[in-house]
C-alpha cells in the first residue's frame, strides 16, 4: 500500500517533468528517485541485480537490439529501459540492466538528486577540499599541493600535467607550439605531450573544471578545460572519455559531492590520455593555455593562424619550468 502510493507519486512527478521544455542545461541523465536507491533489474524484470544510487549517472541504450520493455503491474503498464552505468563500466563491473523509465531524468530536472551549487560559483577551490580518503578510493595521489598561488609566475606554481616526463620533446617537430599545420595555413595551438594510452593526467594547480564539462574533441577523444584561481585556463585535449567520479560526479556514496568539478594542484588521474582514431600518432595530451583575458569559446574558426581565442598563450616555457620542478625536485628528494 505504502509502496503503491510512493510509486504513484513518483509517476505523477515524472509526468510533470515530461511536460517541461526539451531544452536544459545538460543532457546528462541520472537516476532520479525519492528514496536512496533504485533496483536495477535483469532482462526478465524480476531479479534485482544491483542497486543504483539516486543521482547516479546513467546512459540509456538506443538503436538496434531490445532496449525497451513494458510490464503490467496491478493493472498499470510500466515502461522499462535498458541502461548502462558508465562509472561501473569504467571499473569493469556489471553495468547494464533495466530500470523503470520514469526514474531516469536529465540532471537538472531531478530535484531529489540535490545537485551541488558550485556551478553558479566562481573558482573558490582550495586544496583542503579534496579529501585524502576520497583520493585513496581511486588511487589518486596528491604530489605537491601549494596552498595558494598568485599566478603563473609564482615560484610555487605549478605541477607538470603528466605523472612522468613525456616520451618525446614538446620543443620540436610537430609537437611544439606554433608548428605549421595544413601547409602553413594553420598553426599548432598546443604542446603535444606524448606518453601512453590511459596515462593518468594531473591537475597543474588548484582550480575548477569549466561548466562545459567533458566534451567530444576529436576522433574518439574528448577535452575539458581547467580554470585556475588567477584566471588562467588550461585545455586538456585528446583525453579518453573517462570521468573520474571524484571530479565529475555530483553525488558520491549517496551524498552531494563537495568536490564536484574541483581539483587541487598535483591531483592525479583527473583524466586519462587518449589516442585519436586515425592511429596517426603516439597517445598524447594536447595541452593549450589561455590567459583568461578574453571571453567565449577557446576555439575560434575566424581567427587566422591558431584558430583560437585571442588570449591563447604559448605554454612551452611554463611546461619546462613545471617539468623541472616536478621531476627534478622529486628525484632529488628520492636521493
Amino acid at each position: 500500500m505504502i509502496l503503491n502510493t510512493v510509486v504513484s507519486l513518483m509517476v505523477s512527478v515524472s509526468a510533470q517533468a515530461k511536460d517541461s521544455s526539451s531544452s536544459s542545461k545538460t543532457l546528462e541523465k541520472v537516476v532520479c528517485v525519492s528514496s536512496q536507491t533504485l533496483g536495477v533489474r535483469s532482462r526478465n524484470l524480476k531479479e534485482v541485480m544491483f542497486s543504483a544510487e539516486n543521482g547516479e549517472r546513467v546512459n540509456v541504450f538506443q538503436g538496434w537490439g531490445e532496449n525497451k520493455r513494458t510490464k503490467k503491474i496491478r493493472g498499470v503498464r510500466y515502461s522499462f529501459v535498458r541502461v548502462q552505468f558508465p562509472d561501473l563500466a569504467a571499473k569493469g563491473e556489471d553495468s547494464v540492466g533495466w530500470v523503470a523509465e520514469d526514474y531516469i531524468r536529465t540532471k537538472d530536472k531531478c530535484s531529489t538528486a540535490e545537485l551541488p551549487t558550485e556551478q553558479k560559483e566562481d573558482v573558490k577551490t582550495s586544496s583542503e577540499n579534496v579529501k585524502k580518503e576520497d583520493s585513496k578510493d581511486t588511487g589518486d595521489q596528491n604530489k605537491s599541493t601549494p596552498s595558494s598561488i598568485s599566478g603563473l609566475n609564482d615560484s610555487d606554481c605549478c605541477v607538470f600535467p603528466l605523472n612522468s616526463r613525456p616520451g618525446e620533446s614538446y620543443l620540436s617537430g610537430m609537437r611544439r607550439f606554433g608548428a605549421n599545420r595544413s601547409k602553413g595555413r594553420r598553426t599548432h595551438a598546443a604542446c603535444d605531450l606524448y606518453q601512453y594510452r590511459n596515462a593518468p593526467l594531473t591537475a597543474i594547480a588548484d582550480g575548477r573544471i569549466s561548466n562545459l564539462g567533458l566534451y567530444e574533441f576529436y576522433q574518439g577523444t574528448y577535452a575539458m578545460e581547467l580554470k585556475l584561481k588567477d584566471g588562467t585556463i588550461a585545455r586538456y585535449g585528446e583525453i579518453t572519455g573517462y570521468r573520474n567520479p571524484q571530479v565529475f560526479s555530483a553525488r558520491l556514496n549517496g551524498k552531494s559531492n563537495p568536490n564536484y568539478l574541483k581539483v587541487s594542484a598535483g591531483q592525479t588521474n583527473i583524466a586519462k590520455m587518449g589516442k585519436v582514431n586515425s592511429n596517426c600518432c603516439t597517445p598524447m595530451l594536447h595541452f593549450e593555455m589561455y590567459s583568461g583575458k578574453a571571453r567565449g569559446s577557446l576555439t575560434n574558426l575566424r581567427a587566422k593562424g591558431y584558430q583560437r581565442r585571442s588570449d591563447l598563450m604559448n605554454p612551452t616555457a611554463y611546461l619546462q619550468r613545471w617539468e623541472t620542478k616536478t621531476f627534478d625536485t622529486a628525484s632529488a628528494s628520492n636521493k
Partner: protein, 285 residues
C-alpha cells in the same frame, strides 16, 4: 530363526525411517511455502499469485549491494529477487533465442532504408557545418525529421558556451546522434562536432565511406585509410569513419551506452580538427 528376526527388524526399521524422512520433508516444505507466501505478500511478482506491485525502488535495507552475486533465489535478496517459475525459464530461453536471432540480424548488410539513413546523416553534417547555421536551426531540422531532439546549453563565464543536441530516436540502422556547437568570442556559433553510430552490418564501413565520399564530393582516396578507419580533410573539419572492434574502443564513451556485443559498430564523425592530421602532421608510427 535368528536370521529371520534380523531381516524382519531391518525391514520394519527401514520402513519407520522412511516414514520419518517423508514426514520431515513434508514439514520442511510447509515451512518453506509459508516463508515464500510471507515474502510475496511484502513484495512482488509471482505468477501464481497474480499481478502484484514489484519493488521498483528498493529501500536501503532491501537494496542488493553491488558486490552481491547475480542470480535468482538468493536468500539475502529474497525480498527483491522473487523465485523464478518454470514459465519464467521458458520465457528466458525464448528471449535468448530472440537475442541470438537479433544479433545475427544486426550483422546483415544494411538494407536500402538504412543506406538512405547514412546518406541523410552525412548530408546533415555538411548542412549543419555551413557558416551561419545555428544550433536552433539544427534542432528544428532534427525535430522536423521526427528524431525527438533534446538540446542543452552549458555556459561558463570564462570559457564560453557549448550547445549539445542529442536525439532520443534515430534514423533506421543508426543511433546516438550527437551534435556540439560552440559559441565564439563575437557571439557567433559553429558546429564543432557531429557524430552518430551505424549498426554493425557487414557493409556498414563501406556504406559510410561511400556516403562521405559522394556527399562531400571528395576526390581521390581518403587522406588516411585502414580496414577499420578512413578520414578526409576539409579545413577546418575532418570527416571520419571508424569501426569499433575492441573493448577499449567500445567501452570508453561517456555519452553512449555500449557493450562488447556492439563490436563492428561504425561511427561517423565530422569535427573541427585541432591538428590537421595530414601527412605533415605529428610523427607517424
Amino acid at each position: 530363526m535368528n536370521n529371520e528376526k534380523i531381516i524382519f527388524r531391518t525391514i520394519v526399521g527401514g520402513l519407520l525411517l522412511g516414514a520419518f524422512i517423508a514426514l520431515a520433508i513434508k514439514f520442511q516444505a510447509r515451512v518453506l511455502h509459508k516463508e515464500s507466501a510471507e515474502d510475496n505478500a511484502s513484495s512482488p511478482v509471482s505468477k501464481n499469485d497474480g499481478p502484484k506491485m514489484p519493488s521498483l525502488m528498493t529501500s536501503a535495507q532491501a537494496a542488493t549491494p553491488r558486490s552481491f552475486p547475480v542470480g535468482p533465489n538468493l536468500a539475502a535478496g529474497s525480498l527483491v529477487n522473487p523465485p523464478l517459475t518454470e514459465e519464467d525459464g521458458q520465457e528466458e530461453e525464448s528471449a535468448q533465442r530472440q537475442a541470438i536471432a537479433l544479433a545475427e540480424q544486426f550483422r546483415k548488410p544494411l538494407n536500402r532504408t538504412e543506406v538512405k539513413s547514412v546518406t541523410t546523416f552525412v548530408q546533415k553534417m555538411a548542412k549543419y557545418a555551413a557558416p551561419g547555421f545555428t544550433p536552433e536551426m539544427a534542432f528544428a531540422d532534427l525535430k522536423k525529421m521526427g528524431l525527438q531532439p533534446e538540446m542543452a546549453k552549458a555556459s561558463d563565464p570564462d570559457t564560453g558556451s557549448l550547445v549539445t543536441i542529442r536525439t532520443n530516436s534515430s534514423l533506421p540502422g543508426m543511433r546516438y546522434i550527437h551534435l556540439q556547437f560552440v559559441g565564439e568570442e563575437n557571439g557567433a556559433t559553429h558546429l564543432q562536432s557531429m557524430t552518430a553510430e551505424v549498426r554493425p552490418g557487414t557493409d556498414s564501413m563501406d556504406v559510410a565511406k561511400r556516403a562521405i565520399h559522394e556527399q562531400f564530393n571528395f576526390r581521390g582516396a581518403p587522406a588516411n585509410e585502414r580496414a577499420d578507419f578512413a578520414e578526409w580533410h576539409r579545413d577546418p573539419y575532418t570527416a571520419w569513419v571508424k569501426q569499433l572492434n575492441t573493448e577499449e574502443e567500445l567501452m570508453n564513451n561517456p555519452f553512449n551506452a555500449r557493450t562488447v556485443e556492439d563490436a563492428g559498430t561504425t561511427v561517423l564523425g565530422y569535427q573541427v580538427n585541432p591538428h590537421t592530421h595530414d601527412s605533415d602532421d605529428h610523427e607517424h608510427f
